[in-house]
């Protein structure tokens, strides 16, 4: 579906600039998100790819303003939603935006729903709080929303509790909640990781379909390359709190410009590799409180040169629409 080159719409609805998030820990301050920049455009899906701990969820939470301060601090950067800077927005105003203009789907649907309230109540709450609807009206709206995410017999199930639904159904309900108020941007943080293949396919289908239907921006966070390639138009790869590469999904996955993206893309097994060793990125991701100086990927990088250990390469344009943070992007692209 992303085969055609995308005509670039001028203005992104959500754009993140130079976002830095730090955590207070017993071992000192750690920088979990470092100078992150992202753009989400209307009707487009942005994938964020990266290993566990690379800062994907923190970025998402920072956008939604869900980080607990302390220990988290957004030390710099701006998050522009339709020109409105969410960083430093007064609490009341933020509450108005969160959940309606921009909303989020979490990884674990089992725990993301409150076990003691009916699902209808939980969806309807949004209408009551943000739209001031009556109990009755909000229930009807909830039923409609459940219908939209294709929960069979929605009217009969509004009064059920989350534990009465299967995992896939719960994820649908979470999605229904996120879509209830027609947000401009939907952030989905690993929405399918906890689900098995068949259900995963259903959910991805649903997300994609809803995105198209509503023409909203979608941020899809995952560490699953195939999911990214399936759903998204653009991809950002994160490593140790930084965006190391950005670009149109197709290009980025077929011809990565950063050694890390390259490692990721090639470590996926394919039929040809049967019986052979998989190409793996050696080593372990670094811990945030002891990031190596310079490029944080350098210790695992086959291209690393002494200079990589001295200064961190900036995220620069390496090809039209492609940005990468590596001194050797050109060389890698050419290979």
């Amino acid at each position: 579906m992303t085969a055609e080159p995308i005509p670039q719409p001028a203005e992104p609805i959500l754009s993140v600039r130079d976002l830095v998030v730090e955590f207070e820990t017993p071992a000192g301050r750690v920088r979990a998100v470092n100078d992150v920049e992202l753009d989400v455009r209307q009707g487009q899906a942005l994938g964020i790819l990266g290993e566990s701990g690379s800062g994907k969820s923190v970025t998402a939470s920072a956008i939604m303003g869900l980080l607990d301060t302390p220990p988290a601090h957004v030390t710099s950067g701006e998050i522009l939603l339709d020109e409105m800077n969410l960083v430093g927005l007064p609490e009341k105003q933020r509450q108005r935006v969160i959940g309606s203009e921009i909303s989020m789907v979490f990884q674990d649907a089992l725990t993301a729903l409150n076990p003691v309230h009916t699902v209808g109540n939980q969806i309807g709450e949004l209408y009551r709080v943000h739209r001031g609807m009556s109990r009755r009206a909000s229930r009807l709206a909830a039923i409609e929303m459940m219908d939209r995410v294709r929960i069979p017999g929605a009217a009969g199930r509004v009064h059920d509790y989350p534990h009465q639904f299967s995992g896939g159904m719960r994820q649908r309900i979470v999605i229904a909640m996120a879509l209830a108020l027609d947000p401009k941007v939907l952030i989905a943080d690993e929405p399918t990781t906890a689900l098995d293949v068949t259900v995963q396919a259903q959910i991805l289908e649903l997300l994609k379909e809803q995105q198209d239907e509503r023409d909203m921006g979608l941020v899809l966070i995952t560490h699953d390359i195939s999911v990214v390639s399936e759903v998204t138009d653009e991809t950002a790869v994160m490593y140790a709190g930084r965006i190391v590469e950005r670009g149109p999904t197709r290009d980025l996955l077929t011809n990565p410009a950063h050694p890390y993206s390259r490692g990721l893309a090639s470590s996926v097994s394919s039929e040809d590799l049967k019986g052979k060793r998989l190409p793996a990125i050696p080593g372990q991701p670094p811990e945030l409180n002891r990031l190596p100086a310079g490029c944080s990927f350098a210790p695992r990088c086959e291209f690393a040169q002494p200079e990589c250990r001295i200064s961190a390469p900036p995220l620069e344009e390496v090809a039209p629409g492609r940005r990468s943070a590596c001194f050797f992007s050109d060389r890698i692209l050419r290979q």
């Binding site: 869900l66 969160i98 076990p115 003691v116 949004l126 943000h130 509790y161 909640m177």
Partner: protein, 295 residues
């Protein structure tokens, strides 16, 4: 049922094993005349072997007869006279404790690891650490004698005035554990994903706490609450003494002092049953607030 039988059996055995001779305690300085002793021992089956005594007691019990004390007063009457007092006291204390403990616990949980939390901790621990009678006497002197807001002793004023002070003291003493439990539970709940969801829905903090956090936080607390009411019903001896509330606790202590087996076992059986009933209520409440355990 097995619990009731087991408990009465053990209690009966314990009373049987208690030091002293109940008949000897009936008199003052002069031993009772031998014939009197014989008479009493026969009337109360005190000469029978233990199992026979117990069997006799249980036989009467299933026939609704709790026996009589050494002064010929029916035990059921003694208990019936005092039970309402104890019940009023314990229930009032329990409700107050609920309010105080939950308030402090919720406050501490919300201010987790910040100054407010520490303050709540110290507040509760002071009540845990200072002996109950000190607080009771202090409150009695201050509110009963100095300020004269309530009668310092006795239940002449009836509910609620006569019960409010002792109940408050009991409540404060007992609220510490509740507060700690609530706090821990709330801290756990606040960390859950669905609380994050609530915030992601753009709910105000107060709404997300009232609507989403509290009910979940109460789930582990309910068990404790139910059992603590059962405990309060049996465990207010010192408070009853200080505030001169004629209740079960006092009766029990007196009966133990006089080694009046029938009274002791009667009360204890009642308490065991109460305990079981509350256990049941807890289970029901559990189902009420946690849909996951509903059948």
């Amino acid at each position: 049922m097995p619990v009731v039988i087991g408990a009465t059996f053990i209690i009966y055995a314990l009373t049987f094993a208690m030091p002293g001779d109940p008949v000897a305690a009936l008199t003052g300085s002069r031993p009772l005349p031998a014939s009197t002793v014989t008479q009493i021992r026969e009337a109360y089956h005190l000469n029978d072997p233990f199992l026979a005594q117990y069997g006799h007691y249980m036989w009467n019990l299933v026939h609704g007869n709790l026996g009589i004390d050494f002064f010929g007063r029916p035990v059921s009457g003694l208990i019936a006279e005092r039970w309402p007092n104890t019940f009023k006291l314990a229930l009032t204390a329990w409700v107050l404790k609920l309010i105080i403990g939950l308030a402090i616990g919720v406050y501490g949980g919300l201010k987790h690891n910040r100054a407010g939390d520490h303050f709540a901790l110290i507040f509760t621990v002071v009540f845990l650490g200072v002996p109950g009678f000190v607080i009771a006497l202090g409150a009695q002197t201050l509110f009963g004698v100095q300020l004269n807001w309530v009668d310092p002793a006795g239940i002449g004023a009836g509910w609620p005035m006569a019960y409010i002070l002792p109940a408050l003291v009991m409540a404060f003493e007992a609220s510490a554990s509740l507060a700690r439990l609530t706090r821990t539970s709330l801290v756990d709940v606040l960390r859950t994903d669905y609380m994050r969801t609530a915030r992601a829905k753009g709910l105000s903090p107060s709404r997300s706490i009232w609507k989403h956090a509290l009910r979940n936080a109460m789930i582990p607390v309910v068990t404790y609450l139910g059992l603590s009411l059962a405990g309060m019903l049996g465990g207010a001896v010192i408070i009853e003494a200080i505030f001169n509330i004629p209740g079960i606790g006092q009766l029990m202590v007196q009966a133990i002092h006089n080694k009046e087996g029938t009274v002791v076992v009667g009360i204890a059986t009642l308490l065991v049953i109460v305990y079981l009933v509350f256990n049941l209520l807890v289970d029901l409440t559990y189902g009420l607030i946690d849909p996951r355990v509903r059948v």
